[in-house]
């Protein structure tokens, strides 16, 4: 009886905890298998590196990655030289000696280059829509990685019954199914150095892996520490419980 009550209490609290998650489910996305799932998951280095290539070649033309630095690429296994070379491929604004605005090649210590100087420039270049910053996009959308993947692979022909807005694109994963962003990924759009075939799905998967890393650069360290700490706490719980039993052994209660 007592156990049942404790369980029902736990269930009740669990229900409260999960309520917001349930409340926001509108479109469901097929669950993908990610290398970073689960308590021992890590970022697939090769996929994340391919994803960074897709990001730099495609996404970065419209989307910023303001919170991240080129040096962060180290976390997906790139060497310093490679990072320097990637950064040098982008120009970032600076002020010249005479005080005028100028540009210089980016360094690893620079933030990822933002494609537009400010929000107004971004909006006017994109038909009034603002391409969101992607630094924490995986955390900033319900559904996370699965949602971003569904969005990137969700383009298609609009059903004939649907009236599309000017400059809008059909996407089955997007709320309202009309999205300002034109289809970003097409088969063979980039050429992968490791010979992986660059299908839309492959590129989507890679770039989502990369963006998941950028949104959670601490994830691997977090899980490693977490596993150790949980093991330690399990041990401590056992030891403490044994001591408690011993202390209470001579008490009738």
């Amino acid at each position: 009886m007592r156990i049942v009550r404790i369980l029902s209490l736990a269930a009740a609290l669990g229900a409260v905890a999960l309520a917001p998650a349930i409340a926001e489910e509108e479109i469901s996305y097929p669950k993908q298998k990610w290398s970073f799932d689960g308590p021992f998951g890590t970022f697939d280095r090769a996929a994340a590196q391919r994803g960074s290539q897709v990001f730099n070649a495609v996404c970065s033309n419209c989307h910023s990655l303001k919170q991240a630095y080129y040096r962060d690429l180290k976390g997906i296994g790139l060497e310093n030289e490679a990072i320097t070379a990637i950064a040098a491929g982008f120009n970032v604004p600076t002020v010249a000696d005479d005080g005028s605005n100028a540009e210089r090649p980016a360094r690893p210590s620079d933030h990822f280059r933002s494609p537009f100087a400010n929000e107004k420039a971004a909006r006017s270049a994109n038909g009034g829509a603002l391409p969101p910053d992607l630094s924490v996009i995986v955390k900033a959308r319900d559904g996370g990685a699965d949602y971003i993947y569904a969005l990137l692979t969700g383009y298609g022909e609009a059903p004939s019954s649907m009236k599309m807005g000017d400059g809008m694109n059909y996407n089955k994963a997007f709320t309202g199914n009309q999205i300002g962003m034109p289809r970003p990924l097409n088969d063979g759009q980039v050429e992968y150095a490791d010979g992986t075939k660059a299908t839309t799905e492959q590129m989507a998967k890679d770039v989502v892996t990369f963006l998941s890393y950028i949104a959670n650069p601490e994830m691997e360290a977090r899980k490693r520490l977490g596993v150790k700490l949980v093991l330690f706490l399990v041990l401590m719980t056992g030891v403490t419980y044994a001591v408690k039993r011993k202390v209470w052994a001579d008490v009738d209660h």
Binding site: R5, S8, L9, A12, L13, A15, V16, A17, A19, P20, A21, I22, A23, E24, P39, K66, Q67, A68, D72, P132, D133, S135, V136, K139, A140, R141, D142, G144, T175, A215, P217, E218, A221, R222, K223, L225, G226, V227, L229, V230, L233, V234, M236, T237, T240, Y241, V243, K244, V247, W248, D250, V251, D252, H253
Partner: protein, 423 residues
């Protein structure tokens, strides 16, 4: 009056200090040999857990504040910098953010334990009321802390909640402008929230001290709800309850760690990873889960002022609870009818939580109103009436008695059937 304390500690340093300031004697009295009912169950851990949680929040909060920038153009980025670049910054922030949820889980269990076992009844009324003050200060602190990362939910949550004060007749608008320091939630608001969010936890420490001080005057309640009659009913706090609390702390830390390390964003709205934008309202403004029941009460009343009054009333009613419950019996164990209504209340609060998480449409509106009605009915009508009508079960003679009698005790047969020569 004035005069040196006659210390009994053998250690000369301890003795020297204790003679001049008897803190060691006090600790020994209040936490060492303090007589504590021997029949606590694990629900009596949650007060200690809440205290530990407060310490964790203050510790992580102080170090977070060293890296946080309370300015609308930098707050979001400074939090991201903590997450990305500050050594163990992610740990500090995730512990602090999830610590808020843990704090409320622990505190709500602590409160419902008090409701079930009648811990608010004489002579512990003041102890209970101080507890309600703690809850209020906690809520204010949590609310202001949630605004600091300056995400979309921070901004709009702050807008919605501060706007509640505009429901006050006549001066409402001026009060809201004063709270904001402007004409919308903006930099002045963020700055003052940071200042108060830093201050209030220390106020909390003071109020918790009063809570514990009051507890040590009346002594703890216990699962049987009867008074301690003889020394046989009690155990010294140390080592019995220090050890029992330690077990609870370990389990609590396990749950906490699972959350922080493996699901750190479980309780966080995705929306709050989007920087605040005063021109775009999120599709749904949902407060943190621990405010959902109150939010549901707010929304279940069609009138704005009525909703605000009822929401604050939901807490105000707790203040007078010791006088609303007319039953002389504390523990629900001996209140066969009240016991069932306790569970109904719990279900009503959970339902309110679910209602708060959903758009106020269709069945949710009805459910919200029913649960709100029950909440107030329970405290304002049921408790006063039931106390007079209900026939409580016979109370045991003393805390140690039911064990010796071999029945009616909190533990099943095995323990009770043991030979009893020890006591």
């Amino acid at each position: 009056m004035a005069g040196l304390h006659k210390s009994e500690f053998a250690n000369p340093v301890v003795n020297w200090i204790d003679t001049r300031l008897p803190i060691f004697t006090m600790m020994q009295k209040e936490y060492g040999v303090f007589p504590t009912p021997k029949n606590f169950n694990y629900f009596w851990n949650f007060g200690a857990l809440a205290m530990i949680n407060l310490v964790i929040m203050i510790a992580t909060g102080i170090f977070l504040a060293m890296n946080y920038t309370p300015h609308v153009s930098m707050a979001f980025d400074s939090v991201e910098r903590i997450m990305r670049d500050v050594n163990y910054g992610w740990l500090l922030r995730y512990v602090h953010a999830n610590g808020a949820s843990m704090f409320f889980i622990v505190t709500y269990i602590h409160i419902f334990r008090g409701l079930y076992y009648g811990s608010y009844k004489a002579p512990r009324e003041l102890l209970w009321m101080i507890g309600v003050v703690i809850l209020l200060v906690m809520m204010a602190t949590a609310f202001m802390g949630y605004v600091l990362p300056w995400g979309q939910m921070s901004y709009w949550g702050a807008t919605v909640i501060t706007n509640l004060f505009s429901a006050i007749p006549v001066v409402g608008e001026s009060v809201v402008t004063w709270l904001w320091g402007g004409f919308s939630v903006d930099n002045p608001t963020l700055n003052r929230f940071f200042s108060l969010h830093f201050l209030l936890p220390f106020v909390l420490v003071g109020v918790v001290f009063l809570h514990v001080a009051a507890l040590h005057i009346t002594g703890s309640n216990n699962p049987l709800g009867i008074d301690v009659k003889s020394p046989q009913d009690t155990l010294p706090f140390h080592p019995y309850y220090t050890m029992k609390d330690s077990v609870g702390i370990c389990v609590y830390l396990l749950v906490f760690a699972a959350l922080v390390f493996f699901a750190p964003n479980l309780f966080m709205a995705a929306e709050n990873y989007i920087p605040a934008n005063p021109l775009v309202t999120p599709s749904e403004i949902v407060p943190e889960w621990y405010f959902l029941p109150f939010y549901a009460i707010l929304r279940s009343v069609p009138s704005k002022l009525g909703g605000v009054l009822l929401m604050f009333g939901a807490i105000a009613v707790l203040f007078v609870l010791p006088w609303l419950d007319t039953s002389p019996v504390r523990s629900s164990k001996f209140r066969p009818i009240y016991r069932n209504f306790f569970w109904v209340l719990l279900v009503a609060v959970v339902v309110l939580g679910l209602v708060g998480a959903h758009r106020p449409e269709g069945v949710w509106v009805v459910l919200g109103r029913l649960a709100t009605f029950y909440y107030f009915f329970h405290f304002l009508i049921l408790l006063p009436v039931l106390g007079k009508l209900e026939r409580p079960l016979p109370l045991p003679e003393s805390i140690s008695r039911p064990v010796m009698a071999g029945g009616g005790g909190p533990l099943p047969g095995g323990a009770a059937a043991k030979p009893m020569e020890k006591i």
